[in-house]
């Protein structure tokens, strides 16, 4: 047992040092050149104001169009991995978007405001008017007559399940599926155009492949359900696919203001809450040492270890900390010592029952385990359900942020309170210190 304990101790020490290398200093990191990510409420970010062009919207439809634009923007921001953006309608025709972080590139901002409407084109004959012209020829919209109505083939008939894959030849393929009407149109048009090129346009520009050439493949066979676009760069294909799935903007946007803005909770909030958290932890440690003596001291060491590990995980995953996340973290500090309190109370009971220190420690850990397990599993269930609901059915970013940090905190505290504290305690059993029971419980010492 003692040898195995020493091995565990060394392992714990190694994890401790690794975590330290990841965490310190907070805003950078010796190992990973990365600070802890903070949300809009804590760190501030980019404040963009979009003007919605409502000129082509029918009167009376303005409000619902702007609401539609906001929904699409929200869908597009999500895959950017951004936590808790703020999207607000401002007056009748402007939208404010605030995103955490200062380093949102111009390209990303442009992508957010892109209409994303792909139009399919076929070559126009000499006497026809062309809608587009480029080095591959003069193009007109590819149309077909369905139910007596002439319709153009566009991405509005895509199902919202496009995806990008690496094709057999190594090229990048964007796969899309036509909806019912789209299938009919596509069957009609591609059937008519076999052996001829088709191009895809977005606005006035042709979709271009990796080398900048306009995209205009020759139709090989009739396309009914599933189509593909090949030859785009991986980056372009991925963002196009995400945007197609997020939906088409019902009206064009232009950026009219773009600035860096300070955090909602004020500049000093993070600094102050870090300080407050530290003071809180020190108070907890003092309490533990006064009440549980040597065991309390070891639990305090475990608590330092806990803080460091949680921070390291926040950086590694990485977790974007927001107010709600800090809430989960703070609560988990308070509860981190709960497992230790459970164990130490148990050890005291066993000592009172007349066991030796070594036996009391082992029995204390074993008996407290069921309570620690059940109480923490219920916490995990809460976190799991809140996270799942927070990210899907009843989407609510604060709920999700809280659940994530609370889960990490409680999971790590199980490890530190049980493994770390036990390993440290075992190191003391068998030394002469263990004879002095007052080190473990004041009342027992006095007897």
């Amino acid at each position: 047992m003692p040898r195995r304990n020493t091995q565990i101790f060394i392992l714990v020490l190694i994890v401790f040092i690794l975590a330290g290398l990841v965490v310190l200093p907070f805003d950078d990191g010796i190992w990973l050149r990365r600070g802890i990510r903070l949300g809009l409420d804590l760190q501030g970010g980019t404040h963009i104001v979009y003007q919605v062009d409502l000129s082509s919207v029918e009167p009376g439809q303005e409000a619902s169009t702007v609401a539609g634009v906001m929904g699409v923007l929200d869908n597009r921001i999500n895959p950017m991995g951004v936590t808790e953006p703020v999207i607000q309608k401002r007056g009748g025709d402007r939208i404010t978007v605030e995103l955490p972080g200062r380093d949102i590139s111009d390209k990303e901002k442009e992508r957010l405001s892109r209409v994303v409407m792909l139009e399919f084109g076929e070559l126009a004959s000499e006497n026809e008017t062309a809608r587009w012209e480029n080095e591959r020829g003069r193009w007109k919209p590819a149309t077909a007559i369905i139910n007596g109505e002439e319709k153009a083939l566009t991405s509005q008939y895509f199902e919202e399940n496009t995806y990008v894959r690496q094709g057999e030849m190594g090229g990048v393929e964007l796969i899309f599926e036509w909806d019912k009407e789209g299938s009919e149109l596509s069957e009609e048009i591609t059937g008519r155009l076999i052996g001829q090129p088709m191009a895809i346009f977005e606005g006035d520009e042709a979709l271009r492949g990796e080398e900048g050439q306009p995209y205009a493949p020759v139709v090989q066979s009739t396309i009914v359900d599933v189509g593909q676009i090949t030859g785009l760069s991986f980056d372009d294909a991925t963002s196009l696919s995400q945007q197609l799935n997020a939906g088409r903007l019902p009206a064009p946007l232009t950026i009219i203001d773009d600035e860096i803005i300070s955090p909602i909770l004020g500049e000093k909030f993070v600094e102050m809450s870090l300080q407050a958290g530290l003071i809180g932890i020190i108070l907890v440690m003092l309490f533990m040492i006064i009440y549980y003596r040597l065991s309390g001291l070891l639990a305090s060491l475990a608590l330092v270890f806990y803080g460091l590990l949680v921070m390291a995980l926040f950086k590694l995953i990485p977790v974007t900390l927001t107010l709600a996340g800090i809430g989960g973290f703070v609560l988990s500090i308070g509860m981190a010592v709960d497992a230790n309190i459970l164990i130490f109370e148990r050890v005291k009971e066993e000592l009172r029952a007349g066991r030796t220190l070594g036996a009391a420690i082992e029995a204390g850990f074993n008996r407290a385990w069921a309570a620690i397990r059940d109480s923490n599993v219920t916490t995990f269930i809460i976190c799991g359900i809140l996270y799942w609901l927070g990210s899907s059915i009843v989407a609510s970013a604060p709920v999700k942020g809280f659940a994530l940090t609370f889960f990490i905190g409680v999971a790590i505290s199980m490890f530190t309170a049980i493994i770390v504290t036990r390993t440290l305690l075992r190191l003391f059993v068998g030394t002469s210190l263990a004879q002095r029971t007052w080190l473990f419980s004041p009342r027992l010492g006095r007897k």
Binding site: G44, V86, Q88, R90, G91, R94, T96, E259, I260, I261, S262, P263, I264, L265, G266, F269, M272, S273, Q275, A276, G277, I279, G280, I281, V284, F287, Y291, L323, A324, G327, V330, L331, I333, G334, M335, D338, I341, L342, E345, R367, A370, A371, D374, S375, T378, T379, I381, I382, G384, I385, L386, L389, G390, I393, V394, S396, P398, V399, F402, A403
Partner: protein, 307 residues
Amino acid sequence: MFDIVGKRLWYIVISGVVILAGIVSLATFGLKLGIEFESGSMMTVSFEEDVTEEALKNELASLDYGNAIVQSFEEEGSYLIRLPELSNEAKDDLVDGLAAGLGDIKESSFDKNVSPMVAAETGRNTFWAVFVAAIGILLYVTWAFHRMPNPFRYGTCAIIALVHDALVALGTFSLLGGLLGWEIDLMFVTGVLAVVGYSVNDTVVIFDRIRENLTRYTRADFRTVVNNSLVETLSRSMNTSLTTLFVVLALQLFVGESIQNFAVVLIIGVITGTYSSLCVAPQLLVAWEKGELARFFRWLPRRGGRQ
């Protein structure tokens, strides 16, 4: 040995009265929604002279807009202010007031009607999330105690304690809103989630001890076993709530007003959570076991009929 269980009727009555008061308050005052949840106005201003964020906040507070959210732009002396919805006159007064207090305004723009920062559904969504989580807890606790007779009772009592704590927090804030004008914000929502997490954790630890003692002392009376379990876990319950309170109090004292809602909800929650895990959940368990609940529910309609 303390007799905690003997006074169970009193605890349940006290809880009942507090919760009833909370529900009455919720029905009359409701919850006062903060600026984040409601549509309002938005103003950008830049001053001729350098004005600090703090000075601007103080000036807004003295003009009775203490709840405004102020953010600064990178450009010195220019700010974004989120306000409750203002009429054009109120806006003009505000601009004049700011100019009088902080010097000339270089530029300002105003949007009268701006949609809420946080979708109004957030509150309702949080409620549903907690509701589903409660069902999850009910199932797990019932499963964890499946070797005990009537495992379903443990799950039910844990959930009652959870709802109890959440209701006390909501009721208190409704009262604070009605009497002192406190508004609820995202801090509050986070705080309620934390209370729910804390409450269940605390209750399950005590149930666990009851389970252990029931299997160890099979001949003892249920009431005695529950009482002994409560006494044995009492110092743990107190110590855990103390350590949690230390952290929360530190937040309240050293971060101050901006985190006040979170801290206050948690202080209330830790106290009621500890109370409910000692004086509500296990007491209901005993009352249920002894058939007192059934008698109570039979008694209710008779009382109602007599009136």
